[in-house]
């Protein structure tokens, strides 16, 4: 995406990109590494999406038609893992790489070589993870939550490689997060105080903190699995005094903050985009910051809302129900602030704005179904049904993925120096929007009517809605080809973009020439 950046690189002290493949392999440049992250994530989105296609094709009609149940289980597991760790998280790190130095007035990330290392671990980790699909006995088939003992004693032999793939991913995420946090804390231009930082940097600061805090816990839990499998320890085996539920506690201690890791950067993007296209400052900047902090703090004490049916002691159940519901309050503050930013603004609706509005609406729907799930007695009915699947796709797809699309369209002109095709981009939005709702809204209905998740075949009363869901999924998935086409077209024959392509945009990144020079701010700008 940034190949053009080289052309106008006329700084005398800073060197332009190296020639050839080593530019990418050995890179220490935040833009190149960001680009690699973004491309990697797009590839993963397509692989994970193809797996969703397989799932939806099998579920198109009742009965087993295309694949065997074992393979189905491998598909849902890999779909979940690839989307979460391969598509969403790397995309956010890619955006962080590109934007944070530009937004805080830094020449690059604080630790450029570490940065390259955290990227290059990813392709290796996913190669290892996906290779398990071809091993004897198949790949991981225990869901992306890999509950013990299904993932230990009863797992296919390839689980060992799955565990090490998770270790690699975790190492990559931790290093990436350390880099972001250090960059934000140490590389801000003079005068750029914390409370002058753009919202995107704030959300990433908190996200990085969450990552550093919980990725080691994930590493810990997979390590215990490894020990149970190969060294006959008893962590998750009652026969030796352990407890399978212990696995879930440790996993979700990581898992719940993880879901906010997948949404906070999107919050940040939307907080950049909405003010721009409303031509108005972000409403309630300070309360937005406090809301993110509150969400992050709360996210550490709500984990067992994923475990309402494991039979926790009563007080535990109550505690986790109450704390979970509390999260609605800071999240509500954010939603209301975005709407107030639009209120009495002077709005236009370019693609990034469309995605942001789509985000606000659909994320709220997903958040509200989250509140329904948070009620322990009712969750006894929702748990592990498609209602949950509907909930999390509503927060993840229009949440995380729409946030990423908004960001890409918003900053693409700055990255490439070219303008994308607004008409096609709008088409991409609308087809995605309709396809997405067609896919995920009916899931609420089948879930309430009683369809469990993670099944390759279902009773007949769910047939009609499942067919709609599958059709929606094909529509949504195919519409992503438009996205790829828009990107290619922009790069190859996009109109040159102006330095400030968006009338209402503010922030240091827009003070740079277009396309952004290879090294962002060799001398730090001063922020008054």
């Amino acid at each position: 995406m940034s190949t053009q950046a080289a052309d106008i690189d006329h700084g005398d002290h800073d060197h332009g990109p190296a020639k050839g493949i080593t530019r990418w392999l050995y890179s220490t440049n935040h833009k190149d590494i960001g680009t690699m992250y973004l491309i990697f994530s797009l590839v993963m989105l397509f692989i994970g999406g193809s797996m969703a296609f397989v799932i939806r094709a099998e579920l198109f009609q009742p009965g087993l038609q295309l694949i065997e149940p074992e393979f189905f289980n491998q598909m849902i597991t890999m779909h979940g893992l690839i989307m979460v760790f391969g598509a969403v998280m790397p995309a956010f790190v890619g955006l962080a790489n590109w934007m944070i130095p530009m937004m805080i007035g830094a020449p690059d990330m604080a630790l450029p070589r570490l940065n390259n290392l955290s990227f290059w671990i990813l392709p290796f980790a996913f190669a290892l993870m996906m290779s398990t699909l071809f091993m004897d006995g198949g790949g991981p088939n225990f869901g992306w939550t890999f509950y013990a003992p299904l993932s230990t004693t009863y797992a296919p032999p390839s689980v060992t490689f799955f565990i090490f793939a998770i270790h690699l991913l975790g190492a990559s995420s931790i290093m990436g997060a350390i880099n972001v946090i250090v960059t934000i804390m140490n590389m801000r231009a003079p005068g750029m105080t914390y409370f002058k930082m753009p919202m995107f940097c704030w959300t990433w600061l908190i996200t990085a903190f969450l990552l550093i805090a919980v990725m080691p816990v994930l590493a810990g839990v997979v390590t215990m699995m490894l020990m149970d499998i190969h060294f006959a320890t008893a962590f998750f085996d009652a026969g030796g005094g352990g407890d399978p539920v212990l696995f879930q506690h440790v996993f979700w201690f990581f898992g719940h903050p993880e879901v906010y890791i997948m949404i906070l950067p999107s919050f940040g993007v939307v907080s950049q985009v909405i003010p721009t296209f409303s031509r108005k400052k972000l409403f309630g900047y300070h309360s937005m910051v406090y809301a993110i902090i509150a969400i992050a703090v709360l996210s550490f004490v709500v984990w067992a809302h994923h475990m309402f049916t494991v039979g926790m002691p009563f007080v535990g159940e109550l505690f986790f129900m109450y704390t979970t519901m509390l999260i609605a309050i800071p999240t509500g503050v954010k939603i209301f602030n975005w709407i107030s930013t639009m209120f009495r603004g002077s709005m236009t609706f370019e693609t990034p704005m469309l995605y942001s509005i789509g985000f606000v609406v659909l994320f709220t729907i997903g958040g509200l179904s989250g509140i329904m799930l948070a009620l322990a007695p009712v969750d006894m009915v929702y748990q592990d049904t498609y209602f949950v699947v509907a909930h999390f796709h509503y927060v993840l797809v229009p949440g995380a993925i729409f946030g990423i699309f908004a960001a890409v369209y918003y900053w693409l002109p700055k990255w490439t120096g070219k303008m994308y095709d607004e008409g096609l981009a709008k088409l991409h939005f609308w087809v995605s929007f309709i396809g997405l709702n067609l896919t995920f809204f009916p899931m609420h209905f089948v879930g309430l009517a009683g369809m469990p998740r993670r099944i390759p075949d279902y009773p007949l009363q769910f047939a009609d809605f499942n067919m709609i869901v599958s059709i929606g999924a094909f529509m949504f998935g195919t519409s992503q080809l438009i996205f790829v086409y828009v990107l290619i077209k922009t790069l190859r024959k996009g109109e040159p973009a102006e330095q400030l392509p968006w009338e209402g945009a503010e922030g240091l990144e827009w003070t740079l020439p277009t396309p952004a020079p290879y090294h962002s701010f060799p001398t730090p700008p001063t922020v008054e």
Partner: protein
């Protein structure tokens, strides 16, 4: 916050890629090794790949750190960069804290919840129906399913080797701090002496730990596979031991660099980073000593 000096953006470098590749080879090799071990294959492919990976890692560490040292000695690093290093190291240690926190959390859960429940106490004591002969003790010497998980004869007595080890590590933290003061005061030879003592204490700790493991395995039947006590015991002390090992390697490296005269009284980040790490490992040990051995 900013200095007049330019922030140093390192040259493109092959080391990150080498690092990623050797991490991959090492872990895949280890995976293969374990896989073969559990499946009962005699194939040495795992060992081979694992070894290859380790060689790669060693090559990478020498190369990468060598490069960094060279740059640092060449005066390329600004004040701001060294702040970045410091912050990076602190957050890395925080991530390690969370890693240990997960294992301590497990110990906590097992002792407060699962073991009592299995023996009929507490909110979910009804589980006792499935294990009618089980009664809870800590340390847990008889497991709910004695057929599946053997019974340790006894556990390690905290007041022998562990107490000595506590003494060793605490002392080593003190001597390391003394070395740091000496370094800051520019007293090179004193620094060397204190460093040597610190390392000696660290290596002795490791040796005693190994001795303790042998004792546990050979005489006490306290192993990884004798139930949750052994599982948590070896997991926590083992990971701690691994960290002490890394710490020792770091100290050794620093020691060699001191001998080579790399550090000045006010610029010795590598020393400080290793010292932080060592103190962290020490604090973890104190918690281990209390929670794993004594109580």
């Amino acid at each position: 916050m900013s200095t007049e000096q330019q922030y140093y953006i390192p040259e493109p470098s092959k080391w990150p890629l080498v690092a990623a590749a050797s991490m991959f080879v090492t872990l895949t090799g280890l995976g293969l090794l374990l896989f073969n071990m559990t499946a009962g294959n005699d194939s040495m492919s795992g060992q081979l790949m694992f070894g290859l990976g380790l060689v790669g890692m060693a090559y990478m560490f020498f190369g990468w750190f060598g490069k960094v040292i060279e740059e640092s000695m060449g005066g390329l690093y600004s004040n701001q960069l060294s702040v970045s290093f410091r912050k990076g190291m602190s957050w890395f240690i925080f991530s390690e804290v969370m890693f240990f926190a997960a294992f301590f959390g497990v110990l906590f859960y097992v002792r407060l919840f699962s073991v009592p429940w299995l023996s009929g106490e507490g909110a979910k004591g009804i589980a006792h129906m499935l294990w009618p002969d089980f009664s809870a003790t800590w340390p847990l010497l008889t497991n709910p399913s004695p057929e599946q998980f053997g019974s340790p004869k006894a556990v390690i007595d905290p007041w022998h080797i562990p107490l000595i080890n506590t003494f060793l590590l605490v002392t080593s933290s003190v001597t390391l701090t003394l070395a740091h003061h000496a370094l800051k005061a520019g007293k090179r030879s004193l620094t060397k002496i204190y460093m040597a003592i610190t390392m000696l204490l660290g290596f002795t700790f490791l040796a005693l730990q190994i001795y303790e493991y042998i004792e546990a395995y050979q005489h006490l039947n306290l192993t990884l596979s004798t139930g949750i006590y052994g599982s948590t015991f070896f997991m926590l002390t083992g990971f701690h031991g691994a960290h002490v090992t890394i710490g020792c390697i770091m100290l050794t490296t620093v020691f060699i660099r001191i001998l080579k005269g790399h550090f000045t009284a006010d610029d010795h980040f590598a020393f400080e980073a290793s010292a932080w790490y060592w103190h962290f490992v020490d604090v973890v040990w104190l918690m281990l000593f209390m929670l794993v051995y004594v109580f």
